[in-house]
């Protein structure tokens, strides 16, 4: 426990704000906030943004940003939908063979990885700055999504996909399990692999890692492949939860994931950030959104609150640093 506090001292502030938000929301909704129903609905809503935030965080760790994650999530969903619809013309409702699902999912992940590969090559090998490379691929990916769907909504998917977005194992929602699984795996990758170690070092000083014989290019390539995989998983969850896919789903999530990652302690200039922080930040944003929702406040008030909280937290950090 003491060890935990020592290594996570930087997260204590965030945990404090999280607890405060929880207590305030509970206080405002004494009967409705801490109910199984509400907790479950929160647990269904948070994984999409949560997994996308992890994908954003990975890119931010090297000092970059990935503006294409929402586009990639949609692209994955649309590809899977198109493959399923092509093979099962009647609409792919109900049961689908598991091999068919695997083929469709593989296709969805493949196109996403292809884009990630392109980004990695542009950023790692051609020296394009991450914001520009991903701005370009974002436009391209969104364009491709519109092009292949003609802007329409595709819906009705097999139960196995719906299970990923709406299913439960006992009382626990499947998307939440997926989110926690992603977070755990990512945490191990970042803390215990040479890639993760190299990523933190590269994000702090790219020139020094080059001089230390670290292969920066390979690390950057892997960053964007990993970010794409996470975006695709988020795409699966979104697809299952909405039972539909469309080129412009979730566009407002993009900047929220940056906000959540920074709130969770990820540095915008790279090198610092923990998975646990990102998870806590996403949970906090969800608590605020759900609590305000129960109060009957306009959902956009939650968005304003998120912006304000980020500013307040950054301001507090600044003054605490100045005092130290």
């Amino acid at each position: 426990m003491k060890e935990f506090f020592r290594t996570h001292r930087d997260l204590l502030g965030l945990i404090g704000v999280l607890c405060a938000a929880f207590l305030i929301m509970w206080g405002c909704n004494p009967t409705r906030f801490v109910t199984l129903n509400n907790l479950r609905s929160m647990a269904f809503q948070l994984p999409e943004i949560g997994i996308l935030t992890l994908g954003m965080m990975v890119a931010m760790l090297h000092g970059g940003i990935n503006l294409s994650i929402v586009g990639l999530a949609n692209l994955t969903g649309i590809t899977i939908a198109l493959v399923l619809h092509a093979i099962l013309p009647q609409g792919a409702r109900g049961e689908a063979g598991s091999w068919l699902m695997l083929v469709a999912a593989a296709a969805g992940f493949f196109v996403s990885l292809l884009v990630g590969f392109l980004q990695g090559v542009l950023i790692g090998y051609a020296g394009v700055s991450a914001i520009l490379a991903t701005l370009g691929t974002m436009t391209l990916v969104n364009g491709v999504c519109v092009l292949i769907t003609h802007g329409s909504t595709l819906s009705s998917f097999p139960d196995s996909i719906l299970f990923l977005g709406n299913g439960s194992l006992g009382p626990v929602p499947v998307p939440l399990l997926l989110f926690l699984f992603c977070a755990a795996v990512l945490s191990i990758i970042l803390r215990r692999t040479t890639f993760g170690f190299g990523l933190y070092m590269l994000g702090t000083n790219q020139e020094a890692t080059k001089f230390a014989g670290i292969n920066n290019r390979v690390i950057l390539l892997r960053v964007y492949l990993l970010s794409s995989v996470l975006a695709s998983i988020a795409g699966l969850v979104m697809m299952g939860r909405f039972n539909s896919v469309k080129a412009d789903y979730g566009q407002s999530y993009l900047l929220i994931t940056v906000l959540a990652a920074v709130l969770g302690g990820t540095s915008a200039s790279g090198g610092y950030g923990k998975v646990l922080g990102a998870v806590l930040a996403v949970v906090m944003l969800q608590i605020i959104a759900s609590g305000l929702n129960l109060l009957g406040v306009d959902p956009f008030f939650a968005i304003a609150t998120w912006g304000a909280i980020l500013l307040v937290v950054m301001a507090l950090n600044h003054f605490l640093r100045a005092r130290a």
């Binding site: 692999t193 040479t194 170690f197 190299g198 933190y200 001089f211 230390a212 014989g213």
Partner: protein
């Protein structure tokens, strides 16, 4: 030794009284007082971290002191910021030059002047005229419309000097002014300085290179650990006494080290060339040898080192390692072949500032710490870090602390430890003692010698000819991309080498 009462008189331009400044828990300056007379060439000497740069920042108004007062011509400005300081006639030439690479030469020189006039509209003719005048003043010819980013480093330095002189300057502060200049340019600079002095402009040099300062400075103010040690007339000092005052201890000069006698060739280079980098370079490095490589900045010495380290692909020529031809196309390849390189710029290229001491040590060999699941073994990681900290005697409380908490000498040990952990055959050290205080310098030399005894071949690139002579048996001289001589250090003196490096 103490401030003479005459300093109170009218001939003092700048007087500092009991200036103190703290950053967080660290005292950078503690009750420092000194004064600079009109038309005086004054030198601010001290080791790294002694508070020199903080003092400059305070004089130039970039930082505000916690306590103490500053008098310009006997007056204290109410609020001293950088504009006020410039208006009072203080100009600083910073070590990093602080130029705007995206603007033209004319704009770089003239904009600050126009700014001081609080002008709103810009008259391009005025910019042009002011800049041309300023260039004429130091007899310099550069295209005024050229973008500064396209100039060579030496030209940029002259532009920075020009900018500082273009205004109504009364005190010119030069922060390590000669680091990037060749001897010839230093001479131009000094002639300008003497010229300024005749116009009763004061000059404050900040430097830790002692020999060149002795030529021009009249008085020395010495700082140590943020405290004022004293202000001395030049005639009361010699180089040895100055070092003692700066370090606070008697320093014996390094004895010559004959090196290990072993004729096994580790590395051989045969007529290596690269356009605009180096030409027709050949040499051999033996096991356990410390080979000196010296030349001025821009002589191609670093470019050659990078070629051996896989970061600068040569056009032609051969590199042989242990007698076998090697193609070194990447740093990874170089490391695999047992070549390692400690870069000159410790802060930007050597260390990952911000990350822990431990992480910096294992950076180059992290892939050797994996367990059978291909994950980093934290036990092993801890042990390796501990091993190297102990082995190189790095003074550290907790390897988890950020590496910038270490002193310069210990930081350099961290970089060296990182490479030793990869078990190299050849270690290239590019100016390993730059910016390190005198005592730490000696211990780095000691470390290099111990390493060579274990059989590592070392190439010691250095600015300071004394360093090469004391540590190396053979010294290669490089000028304009070529080797001009291979000297036996027993037969040379610092002076003979220096003159050969600078000749044409």
């Amino acid at each position: 030794m103490s401030e003479p009462p005459a300093a109170q008189a009218q001939d003092v331009f700048l007087r500092l009284e009991k200036i103190s400044k703290r950053y967080g828990g660290v005292t950078a300056l503690d009750q420092v007082s000194c004064s600079i007379r009109k038309g005086e060439i004054h030198c601010l000497a001290g080791e790294n971290g002694s508070g020199k740069s903080t003092l400059i920042k305070i004089i130039s108004g970039v930082e505000h002191p916690d306590s103490g007062s500053i008098f310009f011509d006997g007056q204290t400005p109410r609020h001293l910021d950088s504009t006020e300081s410039i208006n009072r006639g203080v100009q600083v030439i910073y070590q990093d030059l602080s130029l705007f690479a995206n603007l033209t030469v004319a704009e770089n020189i003239a904009l600050p002047r126009v700014l001081a006039r609080k002008a709103i509209a810009l008259r391009w003719s005025e910019i042009q005229r002011r800049a041309a005048d300023a260039l004429k003043r130091i007899r310099l010819e550069i295209d005024l419309q050229e973008t500064v980013g396209n100039l060579s480093l030496a030209q940029q330095q002259l532009v920075a000097i020009c900018r500082a002189l273009s205004g109504d300057v009364k005190l010119l502060i030069m922060d390590e002014p000669t680091t990037a200049l060749t001897r010839k340019e230093v001479d131009i600079l000094f002639s300008v300085v003497l010229d300024l002095q005749r116009k009763s402009i004061s000059i404050l040099f900040v430097s830790h290179k002692l020999n060149e300062l002795f030529e021009v400075a009249e008085r020395f103010t010495i700082l140590r650990d943020g405290k004022w040690v004293g202000t001395f007339e030049q005639r009361d000092l010699d180089a040895r006494k100055l070092v003692t005052l700066m370090t606070g201890q008697e320093v014996a000069s390094d004895a010559f080290w004959p090196g290990l006698k072993d004729r096994e060739v580790l590395l051989e280079v045969r007529s290596l060339s690269k356009r605009n980098n180096f030409k027709d370079v050949s040499f051999q490095l033996h096991r356990g040898e410390i080979l000196g490589l010296t030349g001025l900045l821009g002589s191609g010495r670093t470019e050659l080192a990078l070629a051996l380290f896989g970061m600068n692909r040569p056009d032609s020529g051969e590199i042989l390692i242990g007698g076998h031809p090697a193609q070194i196309h990447s740093v990874q390849e170089a490391v695999r072949l047992g070549i390692s390189y400690v870069p000159e710029n410790r802060i930007r290229q050597g260390l990952v500032i911000g990350q822990s001491i431990g992480s910096n040590i294992i950076l180059a060999m992290i892939d050797r710490l994996l367990n059978r699941f291909r994950l980093i073994d934290s036990m092993q990681r801890k042990q390796v870090i501990q091993f190297w900290i102990r082995k190189l005697g790095i003074k550290v409380q907790d390897p988890g602390l950020p590496v910038e908490t270490l002193s310069g000498g210990n930081q350099q040990r961290v970089v060296i430890a990182r490479w030793l952990a990869t078990n190299p055959k050849v270690l290239i050290l590019d100016c390993p003692t730059v910016g390190i205080d005198v005592a730490a310098k000696r211990s780095v030399h000691q470390l290099i010698r111990e390493l060579s005894q274990t059989g590592v071949g070392i190439i010691l690139i250095t600015d300071e000819t004394g360093e090469a002579l004391n540590n190396c048996e053979r010294v290669l001289l490089m000028r304009s991309g070529r080797f001009i001589a291979c000297l036996n250090s027993a037969e040379e003196t610092e002076w003979t080498i220096q003159s050969r490096l600078e000749k044409p």
